[in-house]
């Protein structure tokens, strides 16, 4: 059968090297895509319902349990939402520590994805275990890099996994200056590794594929946005986080327990490293920008397969900024600022490793959460992932099926999807049948 008339069905029942449980179905006939489905079948976990009736002070710790890879993102978005509602001013040294904590998570999460989950795709290995046989030095260096992130996260967050030291208004305990200074050498060594890592992954072979994305990310006046900011897009969106619902709509599709998102009146969009990089490149640290230029990966980058390079550049940025912040750190007089509960609705967002993470809480006068809403980046990217696969179809139609499947899975992993975070919603239809008597 010629490539033109070929029928191709790619079905992957369980996606590997992603966080959570998902599947892929792509049907192509006579060169036309008939069906694309990124199926997310992981059961919803009802965190939003779980939050109702709890004290708003518990939100950072409860939502942190949504994800073992990006708990800091959940903590920070929750704090932002509550602190904006309570009109709290966060002192600079507490903000500095939050940035350090968040950079630590980016270092951990990006290193895990770049080396353990995504690099094997480019090098033709089924898993990092096989890759480690051929490239042991890179896996060992990645371990060292991630360890630097782990140490920083453990020091500020209280432990490496699911940090426990974050509270509304700040931290329960802040580190001593000397404790942070002890991390300078490991972070400097990690920075060297990250620079080399960027060069290494930039040398991979990338499929010739570009998409005309609408990139969406936070933008902050002083920083490459991570902790907070307003929402901007490549096609002119510029709005405060509180206006999230005005710009974005959500819908349910039958094949996913995660909601789909789109920009009202326009369609899918891309959140995550590629969006941040393209929208806020000028705010990356000087070394990160220099490394990006060396790697010949500079905006506009519309090839999603190059997101692996962008993640490596963001590791460089996170390490360079962390070292700067450590030099400026002086322990605050009080680890947190007190607050007065105010009833109303609070909105908060931050840039999780995988992209924009939005929280909204409706809070009663006694501090009880009446309603909550959490919009993780993978849910926002779902529709875009399906659009990528739809556009990738002409490229893969002529390939042997195993290669076509490989490329589709790789395209999904470009997004480092965190399916466990995204599972969110299960519509429960109760049909009133009335009584029937035979």
């Amino acid at each position: 059968m010629s490539g033109k008339n070929r029928r191709l069905t790619i079905k992957v029942d369980a996606l590997a090297r992603v966080e959570g449980e998902g599947a892929l179905l792509l049907r192509v006939r006579a060169g036309r895509v008939q069906e694309v489905r990124l199926t997310i079948y992981e059961p919803p976990r009802f965190f939003e319902a779980l939050l109702r009736g709890r004290q708003v002070a518990e939100a950072p710790d409860i939502t942190a349990r949504i994800c073992g890879i990006c708990p800091v993102a959940y903590q920070m978005s929750a704090c932002n939402a509550v602190e904006s509602l309570f009109e709290m001013a966060i002192p600079p040294q507490i903000r500095l520590l939050r940035l350090l904590l968040y950079y630590a998570e980016w270092i951990q999460s990006h290193t895990l994805h770049v080396i353990m989950l995504h690099a094997p795709d480019f090098l033709g290995f089924e898993s990092v275990v096989q890759m480690a046989e051929a490239y042991p030095e890179w896996v060992q260096r990645a371990l060292q890099l991630k360890k630097a992130g782990n140490r920083l996260l453990a020091l500020i967050g209280g432990r490496e996994i699911h940090p426990i030291n974050v509270r509304i208004g700040g931290f329960y305990r802040v580190p001593r200056q000397s404790e942070l200074h002890e991390l300078r050498d490991p972070l400097r060594a990690a920075l060297d590794i990250a620079i080399d890592l960027t060069g290494w992954v930039a040398g991979f072979e990338f499929p010739d594929f570009e998409m005309d994305y609408e990139f969406v990310a936070l933008r902050h006046p002083d920083d490459y946005a991570i902790l907070d900011g307003g929402i901007v897009s490549a096609r002119g969106l510029d709005l405060p986080v509180a206006a999230f619902d005005e710009a974005f709509s959500e819908s349910q599709v039958p094949h996913s327990t995660a909601l789909h998102y789109q920009i009202r009146g326009r369609g899918s969009y891309l959140a995550g490293p590629l969006a941040r990089f393209n929208l806020n490149f000028a705010q990356l640290s000087p070394l990160a920008r220099w490394v990006a230029h060396q790697a010949q990966v500079v905006p506009p980058v519309r090839n999603p397969f190059k997101s692996i390079v962008v993640r490596a550049v963001e590791i460089v940025h996170a390490l360079e900024r962390s070292l700067e912040l450590i030099e400026r750190y002086e322990p605050p007089a009080q680890p947190w600022v007190d607050y007065t509960v105010r009833p109303g609705v609070g909105h908060g967002a931050s840039e999780a490793p995988r992209g924009l993470l939005y929280h909204r809480y409706e809070v009663a006068a006694d501090g009880t959460i009446l309603d909550s809403r959490i919009v993780p980046p993978t849910a926002q990217n779902q529709k875009q992932i399906e659009d990528d696969l739809r556009h990738l179809a002409p490229t893969i139609i002529g390939l042997p099926k195993d290669q076509a499947t490989w490329l589709c899975e790789q395209a999904i992993r470009n997004y480092d999807p965190c399916i466990s975070c995204a599972t969110h919603f299960l519509r429960l239809d109760i049909e009133e049948l009335g009584e029937r008597r035979e």
Partner: protein, 165 residues
């Protein structure tokens, strides 16, 4: 850490019997046995495991397992023996990578301890919240006793070796 003994407990503290590994490791940590470190770890991230057990001579991992055996059954697996490992420790989840990958990765990188033993305890309930099922808690106490004997024997042997030098 060189030559010490590490007891890692894996699991999720919020998922019923899945927390049994954490339960055991926390008690090992509190017991302060000589040359023994207990470490509850709520993630079987291979990179973290490799980093955690680096430098230890002997490592025990305690984790809940799901299977057709009765709840509370204890399965001891020498993780350095490939057939034994692959028969019991399969990736039970698509959530990233786990203990099986950590061992394979450690083997590829020559980053495994000399002794690496898994005590798997068959769980009954892996529901949200809750505490340990009675038969699983009883098994956890038996594992704790076995670990104490094993650690005592291992540290005793190490001391004997040192004394004969």
């Amino acid at each position: 850490m060189g030559g010490g003994i590490l007891v890692i407990g894996l699991g999720n503290a919020l998922r019923g019997d899945d927390r049994v590994g954490l339960w055991v490791a926390a008690r090992v940590a509190a017991a302060h046995w000589p040359q023994v470190t207990g470490l509850p770890l709520e993630a079987a991230d291979p990179m973290l495991l490799l980093e955690t057990w680096a430098g230890y001579e002997r490592v025990y991992v305690v984790d809940a397992v799901a299977g057709s055996l009765p709840a509370g059954t204890i399965v001891r697996v020498d993780l350095l023996r490939r057939r034994e490992r692959q028969a019991v420790v399969t990736p039970a989840t698509s959530h990233g990578l786990g203990l099986a990958h950590a061992v394979e990765l450690g083997r590829a990188l020559h980053a495994l301890p000399r002794h690496l033993i898994l005590y798997g305890i068959v769980g009954r309930e892996f529901v949200y919240g809750g505490s340990l099922s009675p038969d699983v808690e009883a098994a956890a106490r038996r594992v704790l006793a076995r670990l104490r004997r094993a650690c005592r024997a291992a540290t005793g042997r190490a001391e004997a070796c040192t004394n004969t030098r």
